[in-house]
């Protein structure tokens, strides 16, 4: 049986419910703390969220979820109506129920398996204490013929949502026999169809129309629907496959009016218990909303805000990356055209425009990814609440600047570091109430989360009024762990010392707690922050408290980049320029790399790639790791070709295997720095030529600029990383080789290479190479032609016994068998009658020094060569007599000089184990004096 509910409806419901829960968590905390000052708005928000979860769960028939949320709703309603005060018992029940709701949403299909009896029990106890029966539903009543009324059990939230989506609401009747069974539908199928064209707000069958078993099958029961759809009434009927008379639209104007918040004020009637609806006589009259609906207020209010649209994050990420690449291209364009600016009228202003639009585009896309820091902050009060109970501490959390926005990816990456810091605060920093009293502090500790803007950065400060960090203890530990030397420590300020907690491997917790765990240090906080292009610092006063300050960039201009190393320096190459990586082993360098016009080139597949050494282009002293000592040393060789062997590279290349290209895929680990093999003993190493040492392998990054490609030789290839582009200051903007700088995970600044700039800097001339390439292509073509010419189709035949001949097929016009008795002799010439003509015969021995064909043969063969006269094939001129045809072969042979000489002999080769003379029949005819002047 098909499932009635579309999977996507369920997943939407789960996502929305989760959002509801996240949104109201701070409200629940506020309820707990607020006491009498609790605002109605907060309560309403919580109530609405739970109500809407209940509604969805009800429609989708998730019973446990509905049951629990219903109970929560009932309790909340009492609180909202001022009938129930907020106490710890109530809050514990609500928090516990929240956790259950979350658990159920985590695996919605198994939600009925989540145990909720305990939570339900707590809630029921509270309700029973108030003498209230659970149950609250909003009713839309259909006006019936004869004044009777029929109520729909309608979720007002859904009505509001349907209205806000521009839907019309319909009252529809479908008869089980006529409209469902007779049309081949099942009742479920009917509802499924309805769901596919709109929203089913309520549906029911009224059994009261039936009298009993006796006549039931003869009765046609009606399914009544309250149905929301953007369709107009005629189309809605068609979509529901119902006669138009059975579908009527509700009075939308009246409905909207009554959904207005003003009307909603306080009109929620005491929740009625579940009751059987009154019979609903058939009616085509529109139903109308009777009870006002408080929940509608939210939607109406929401409508005043700017319109929003859900967009997939990966799409935004994509757009952002594209924008980043566009910025790079713009920079290249500007650089390429800056000198032409004066020559082309109007160019300067066009460039200016492109410049600005690109920047604004990038900024706009960045903006779409902004998220308030509150999405992270708001989870901490709950964490602290639970922790403080567990630790027996009293801790208050204050949040300031929750509205400060940061790039979504930054917000996400902040979760872990902030959680770590906050847990540390609660676990280690804040003292127990007794300790605090002794120290004359408020027994309740404070943690303040504060986000604000400063100088183009976002600052997040986490302040606690706990015991502070003792620099003496930190220093002792840092010295013990060897993180600092005594000599360094003497010059360090207290502030510098406490910041040592960010050093890798440092952890100040004296007791291991199950909350903060062991040694998950602040170093993780630091490295995570720095990965974001941020920075973390700490200030602490013993006895007074600690402030951890994170400075973060607002947005990220992130581009995936290849990190390469030369002579110990690292550089980033934007992935957009990288085509592939080529690794040439030291032993093969000589064969792979050649010189064209004095410049080095790498032959990669059918392309010649100019090579540059990054160290040379950037003017960095080349260095290499000395194999014997492992130290970095100056490399004095200046040409790759110094490593070349003597042979001619171009010849050798043809049969050489290709260098190993590594596809330049994003995020993949490229060939990482070589694992160090066992170091050879020093003497052996010195003897060993560096040419074959693996340390002399070549890592080549193939880059693309426009349609040109070139190779950059680097020492090391590291990973591909997402880097944050920082613009160059005015002092270094003239450095063409770079497009920006970035900060690596270890805090170091590295330069971002500009592929176009490198081309300029290295004075690469692609045109020279293109000419060379063309030359080589022609050379190759010629060689191919030669090779093709060596390929022949031949007729292999014999003359005298043991003598073999091969004649190119394309030089043969005919092969004819002749009877020796038919051969006539005229003078010293022999003839045979061929198509009414006397055709002269040539005997092999007449022309070349071979034995004659045996004279006793009854039959022989003659080969009639193809002779061209004035470009067309002439009639048969003569036949060459052979004894037998052996084979027709396609052969590719290198002809050697034959021992036998004479006109018509091309050379000799072994064919099928026999030495075979290759003949040129035209030459033979000429040699025999039967043809004048070669025309073939």
């Amino acid at each position: 049986m098909s499932s009635i509910v579309d999977e996507s409806i369920i997943s939407d419901f789960v996502a929305e419910s989760r959002e509801h829960l996240n949104r109201i968590e701070p409200d629940l905390l506020a309820m707990e703390q607020g006491g009498a000052a609790l605002s109605q708005e907060t309560l309403n928000r919580v109530f609405r969220a739970i109500h809407s979860i209940k509604g969805g769960a009800g429609f989708l028939a998730f019973e446990s979820l509905k049951g629990l949320s219903h109970a929560m709703e009932s309790v909340l309603m009492l609180v909202r109506d001022g009938k129930l005060g907020v106490g710890p018992e109530l809050m514990d029940a609500l928090f516990a129920s929240m956790d259950r709701l979350r658990a159920m949403l985590d695996d919605i299909q198994a939600s009925d398996q989540v145990p909720i009896a305990q939570e339900l029990g707590k809630l029921s106890a509270i309700l029973e204490g108030q003498g209230v029966e659970p149950g609250a539903q909003v009713k839309v009543q259909g006006k019936a013929e004869g004044g009777g009324k029929r109520e729909f059990n309608l979720d007002a939230q859904e009505v509001a949502s349907a209205l806000s989506h521009g839907m019309n609401l319909f009252h529809a009747k479908a008869f089980l026999h006529r409209d469902i069974k007779d049309k081949g539908l099942t009742p479920l199928g009917f509802l499924t169809n309805a769901l596919s064209v709109g929203q089913v707000l309520d549906a029911y069958i009224d059994p009261m129309e039936i009298v009993g078993l006796e006549a039931c099958l003869e009765q046609d029961l009606a399914v009544t629907l309250l149905f929301g759809s953007v369709l107009e009434v005629d189309l809605a009927a068609m979509a529901l496959k119902l006669p138009p008379a059975q579908v009527s639209m509700l009075d939308m104007k009246a409905l909207r009016k009554q959904m207005k918040p003003a009307a909603a004020a306080k009109e929620v009637a005491a929740a009625p218990g579940p009751e059987a609806p009154a019979p609903a006589p058939e009616t085509e009259e529109p139903a109308e909303l009777q009870a006002a609906v408080p929940e509608a207020g939210r939607t109406a209010k929401g409508d005043n805000g700017p319109e929003t649209l859900r967009v997939r994050v990966d799409l935004l990420t994509d757009l952002m990356n594209q924008a980043g690449e566009l910025v790079l291209s713009r920079n290249q364009l500007l650089r390429a055209l800056v000198e032409r600016g004066r020559d082309i009228p109007g160019l300067a202003s066009i460039l200016q425009n492109i410049n600005q639009v690109t920047s604004e585009l990038q900024e706009g896309i960045m903006q779409t990814r902004m998220q308030p820091i509150g999405t992270v902050f708001n989870r901490f009060p709950r964490i602290i609440r639970d922790m403080s109970r567990q630790l027996g501490k009293q801790i208050e959390v204050q949040i300031k600047g929750a509205e400060v926005e940061l790039d979504k990816s930054i917000v996400e990456l902040l979760v872990d570091p902030l959680t770590h810091i906050i847990r540390n605060c609660a676990d280690h920093a804040i003292e127990t109430p007794e300790e605090r009293k002794k120290a004359r502090k408020n027994p309740s500790g404070q943690i303040i989360l504060h986000a604000y803007h400063q100088g183009g950065q976002v600052i997040i400060a986490i302040t606690d009024d706990g015991r502070g960090i003792d620099p003496k203890k930190v220093l002792t530990k840092a010295l013990a762990k060897g993180l600092v030397k005594e000599s360094q420590a003497r010059d360090m300020s207290d502030r510098e010392i406490v910041n040592l907690v960010f050093a890798p491997g440092f952890s100040t917790a004296e007791a291991v707690s199950d909350i903060s765990g062991r040694g998950v240090g602040m170093d993780v906080v630091r490295s995570n922050t720095e990965k974001l292009g941020g920075h973390v610092e700490l200030e602490s006063q013993v006895g007074t408290g600690t402030t951890v300050v994170l400075r973060l960039p607002l947005t990220l201009a992130i581009i995936p980049s290849m990190i390469v190393g030369v002579s110990g320096h690292r550089f980033a190459i934007p992935q957009v320029n990288v085509v592939e990586f080529v690794w040439v082993r030291a032993a093969e360098v000589a064969k792979r790399i050649e010189r064209v016009h004095g410049a080095e080139v790498l032959r990669l597949r059918d392309q010649l790639l100019p090579l540059i050494r990054l160290a040379d282009v950037l003017g960095i002293q080349r260095s290499y790791l000395d194999p014997s000592t492992g130290e970095r040393r100056e490399d004095r060789r200046h040409e790759l070709a110094d490593r070349r062997a003597g042979e001619s590279a171009s010849v050798a290349l043809e049969s050489e295997p290709e260098p190993e290209p590594v596809p330049a895929k994003r995020g993949r680990k490229a060939k990482a720095a070589q694992p160090l093999p066992e170091a050879p003993p020093p003497q052996a190493a010195r003897l060993q030529d560096r040419r074959t040492d693996w340390r002399s392998d070549y890592n080549i990054v193939v880059l693309r600029v426009g349609s040109n490609q070139f190779g950059v030789v680097v020492d090391e290839l590291y990973d591909i990383e997402e880097i944050v582009v920082k613009p160059l200051s005015e002092f270094i903007q003239m450095c063409k080789s770079f497009s920006g700088a970035t900060i690596m995970g270890d805090g170091r600044v590295i330069m971002i290479l500009d592929a176009g700039g490198l081309v300029t800097q290295a004075h690469l001339h692609f045109t020279d190479l293109q000419a060379e390439e063309k030359l080589r292509h022609e050379e190759e073509k010629r060689k191919a032609a030669v090779a093709a010419s060596r390929r022949r189709s031949v007729i292999v035949c014999t003359g005298a016994a043991g003598e073999y001949f091969a004649i190119p097929q394309d030089q043969i016009l005919r092969l004819e068998k002749i009877q020796t008795s038919d051969i006539q002799r005229v003078g010293d010439r022999e003839f045979v009658d061929y198509r009414g003509h006397g055709l002269p015969l040539v005997k092999l021995e007449q022309v070349i020094a071979v034995k004659p064909v045996a004279a006793d043969l009854q039959e022989v063969f003659m080969i009639i060569p193809k002779v061209l006269e004035r470009g067309t094939v002439a009639l048969a001129k003569a036949g060459i007599v052979i004894s037998d045809i052996i084979d027709a072969l396609d052969v590719e042979v290198e002809l050697e000089a034959a021992t036998v000489n004479g006109p018509g002999i091309l050379g000799a080769a072994i064919l099928q184990h026999n030495l075979t003379l290759f003949l040129d029949p035209i030459d033979m005819l000429q040699g025999a004096g039967l043809l004048k002047g070669a025309e073939a």
């Binding site: 973060l552 320096h569 003017g619 200051s729 002092f731 080789s737 770079f738 805090g747 600044v749 800097q761």
Partner: protein, 157 residues
């Protein structure tokens, strides 16, 4: 009265109005920038912001400095920051750079107070190359304090 932070390059002592200084630090992990002009020492990571560090000695025509135990970077406020201070009335009108920039110096000395009237024009006994970057001298108990013309030092000329 103005306050001058003093610093040393070799055996010379220079002064810089402290209102121009953003901070003094020992972030000496300086990434060199190939092909930059000689007096550009490189880039540092100042809490997530990139700062260009000038080799002030080279700019003044002196030999490049080795980074030593007392080496420091003096990071200048940007023109935007200075304009704000000036608008507040807390600082004179200074001109630096719109980018974050700092100087590598051999050592940091005391802060010296001096009346503006005590500032004298540069004496004649400095080299031509150097005098271009000097705005004045102050005679102090400890000796002659040479004041830099930051605008000139930072100019691209």
């Amino acid at each position: 009265m103005s306050q001058f932070a003093t610093f040393r390059l070799g055996d010379r002592v220079f002064g810089l109005d402290i209102m121009m200084i953003r901070e003094i630090n020992r972030i000496l992990d300086i990434t060199p920038v190939p092909h930059a002009r000689d007096h550009i020492r490189g880039l540092i990571n100042l809490r997530g912001q990139i700062v260009t560090i000038l080799d002030l000695a080279v700019r003044l025509g002196l030999p490049s400095r080795e980074v030593g135990e007392d080496s420091h970077n003096i990071i200048l406020k940007t023109t935007v920051e200075l304009a704000a201070l000036h608008a507040d009335g807390t600082a004179k009108a200074f001109s630096t750079s719109s980018d974050l920039v700092g100087f590598l110096v051999d050592a940091i000395g005391d802060v010296v107070e001096a009346d503006d009237a005590a500032i004298e024009p540069p004496s004649a006994n400095v080299s031509e190359a150097e005098s271009q970057f000097l705005s004045g001298v102050i005679k102090t108990d400890a000796g002659l304090l040479v004041l830099l013309d930051i605008k000139e030092v930072l100019s691209s000329g």
